[in-house]
Amino acid sequence: MPASVSLSLSLPLSPTARSDPSVAASPFGAFRRSGLRFCGLRREVLSLRSLNSEASGRISPYPARGLSNKVLAAAKSNGSPTKGFDYDLVIIGAGVGGHGAALHAVEKGLKTAIIEGDIVGGTCVNRGCVPSKALLAVSGRMRELQDEHHLKALGLQVASPGYDRQSVADHANNLASKIRSNLTNSMKALGVDILTGVGTIVGTQRVKYGKVGFPDTEVTARNIIIATGSVPFVPNGIEVDGKTVFTSDHALKLEWVPDWIAIVGSGYIGLEFSDVYTALGSEVTFVEALDQLMPGFDPEIAKLAQRILINPRKIDHHTGVFAKKITPAKDRKPVLIELIDAKTKEPKDTLEVDAALIATGRAPFTKGLGLENINVTTVRGFVPVDEHMQVMDADGNLVPHIYCIGDANGKLMLAHAASAQGISVVEQISGNNNVLNHLSIPAACFTHPEISMVGLTEPQAREKSEKDGFEIRVAKTSFKANTKALAENEGEGLAKLIYRPDTGEILGVHILGLHAADLIHEASNAIALGTRIQDIRFAVHAHPTLSEVLDELFKSAKVNVGTSPSVSEPVAV
């Protein structure tokens, strides 16, 4: 039914518009686009009121060709909200997860709105992945320029490299605002309604939003996605003043570079900041509650990472200890960190440092969402969901029409995981059964060199193999054998493959080395698509490239099956 509406509008203009991607080039492109946009996204279409006047009265200001194609795609299913609803989909939270979901929803023809309570782009763009990459880009170069040994080996001479802190900070800030405006524009261009204010769920298909001090507006939606993300987690006893004791939120502004900074927590965030701070001249002390640094990484990778990223740098560490109390610097005293043994709780030591960065993870931001209105109780703040990201209520029943993606559900707290979950939800509500395989989602830590991983770690794989009764094997290759890495004089690194020799299934890949974050996708795609080692090993890699590290890795795996997928069928005995 809605499709015919769209046709009636666009036919008089250009009957071929929908299937012709070059439409933007035609003189009437802009006009047609705007018409289509109304069809797709405005609810007036539904009632067929004043359609023509509205359509012709507004010309889309977005000239991008890609855009017109997307809009056309949207028009294919011509989403108009189901009768009786303001929107097909309302997304609460405009971070990377909400953005990914919104874009895909438009593509699926859903009339979509996104509610942003803070700032478009959320944590990733404004206080996370994005600005930190800017700082890491600087730290990587500083590190190279300071490595006299390395430069000498390449025949380079560089005199006293230095940096200007404010310019570095500006670079990070500018990058964030640029990406933020890109994100905003991409949604506006597609006609996603951006509603400003704090979104609260009133009922299963009702959401209200509004700025503090202003009356709330209530909208109805066929489906709701919660994508409110997370905030830095600060354990009790730690007093954050934003100056000498701070979280990643403050650290990314790079307001100063302390001589000596303690980083509490040695996960991704802590590790990346240690890379930034040591390159800029700080000394770093890690405080880690577990017995090993870098918990969560494959142990072998963590060990090698310690050799490459920790031991040779101006870093020391305390493991197996909690920071029980952290007092910011004041009254001419440094920052004081009281450490207690993680197991016995005995006091162990007191550190006196210039600053402390709290990188103990992130806590879901689900307060004020109105979850009580739909009988949902959070688990440690996380919204419980099933494999389709559909929210479960306090009694374990699925709540109809409400989904939760990203950090707020805690399944995998990564920006791209949130986005993937959002796309999966949109598929689901569009009628395509879709379950996201979280084991195919890669993760990366942008130290120098980088660390990346996908799937299971070796201990996880061993546990699974014992439980399910199959054999696993591990293959490894070194960056030392890679021509491109040696040309860069960056031979340090390891790629590790965990696989099933009986089927050739890839269970996990872990890489530590130059551009590891970019290299991981061959493996994550293989896992996502179910490609087996016996097949992928015949894929050709350009020479000489770093990707040959993975080529070698796949080739070195010993799979007990033939190359043809048909041969891998189990033989009945």
Partner: protein, 493 residues
Amino acid sequence: MAASPSTTSVAGAGPLLSFSSSLSSPSRRVLLPLVRRSSGGAGRRAARIPAISAKIREIFMPALSSTMTEGKIVSWVKSEGDRLSKGESVVVVESDKADMDVETFYDGILAAIVVPAGESAPVGAPIGLLAETEDEVPLAKAQAQSQSQSQPAPVTQSPPSPPSVAAPSPPPPPPAPVATPVAVSEGPRKIVATPFAKKLAKQHKVDIGTVVGTGPYGRITPSDIEAAVGIQPKVPVSSPSPAVTPVPQSPAPSADTSAKAPAAALPPIPGSTVVPFTTMQAAVSKNMVESLSVPTFRVGYPVTTNALDALYEKVKPKGVTMTVLLAKAAAMALAKHPVVNASCKDGKSFTYNESINIAVAVAIDGGLITPVLQDADKLDIYLLSQRWKDLLKKSRAKQLQPNEYSSGTFTVSNLGMFGVDRFDAILPPGQGAIMAVGASKPTVVADADGFFSVKSKMLVNVTADHRIIYGADLAAFLQTFAKIVEDPESLTL
């Protein structure tokens, strides 16, 4: 075979304990696969020990890198009793750089594990025993046992490895002027050292407890350790401190510019850096050398300051500083003793100055300047304070006009605020006298009747040109000065 530099005869009953002493030069060895025969090479065995068939080989800790002195057993791939064939991985060893699989060159049975997983052993120490046949397994086991008893060292966590501190750092310069005015810390003060300082201390084998920290909050910094070892502080190159001004000028005046320095005769002390004088510093230097041509002498005088202190408290809210009060007092005393305000220009005559201009020494960043309070005897302390404030502002901004710093007829230098109780000033050229003021501090004094009381006393010390000012002149001047200070009401008139 290629990989066995030393062989030990273990066969037979007796020499079971000889393993520990068999390491001639293990570190030379680079080859990984390492099993050392303990009963002679395959070929030689027949020739040398024909009667004995027992063959037990040691698996020992390989040197996986040139800097490795000890290794940690990550895991044993094989367990005791496993049959090994040539080329198989037996054990995973962790060095300072990497984890490596160590393979065997020989077939045999892993008879005994001497160093279990998780423990460390020095390079070359036996970590396991390989028996050629089942029969030798018990023998090897016995051997392993006696070995671990007789030589527990390699089994401990961190054996006292020989002092072969890797080689990454350049050899420290010769006469390491060992830094150690034994830790000044009173009581059990906690030692705080930065991560890199600790690393350096370990690398250079410095006992961190003996180093005195000079960093913020008394912490030990990398440069403290470097100083303790006698290493030249790294040239600014690698210290990426907020390089606001990336050192302009010629390629860093390093040690050998000493040719220009006057004290060229002295051999340069390693680690010293030469920084040329600024214009101001050059001027100070010139004046100080010139002052040597003037015969000076010094007279000190204790002054009670209780009254002055009380006055100061009263006028402080009006912006009057102690410096101004002292300058005013000196000016008033000078008015009564014009000779002390005079100067000797040519060595033949007195030059009596009409005005009394008090120069006050002020330390500014990297230098010293003497702004002048002109006509200090005539102006009141409030006006002087106003002037003084302006002068200070100009000094800091380096905007003093020549007549504002060179027209002094008498100088006051006060180090009392630092707790200095007395000091000796050098007479600036062109003036007759300079007064050095120490700190005022409570002192027990006895009066003529033998009553004790506590008074604040301050020592002033005047340096004067003896060509024109004699001892009695100075004494009289100081007496007047003391009277004014002890009864300071006149200062406010």
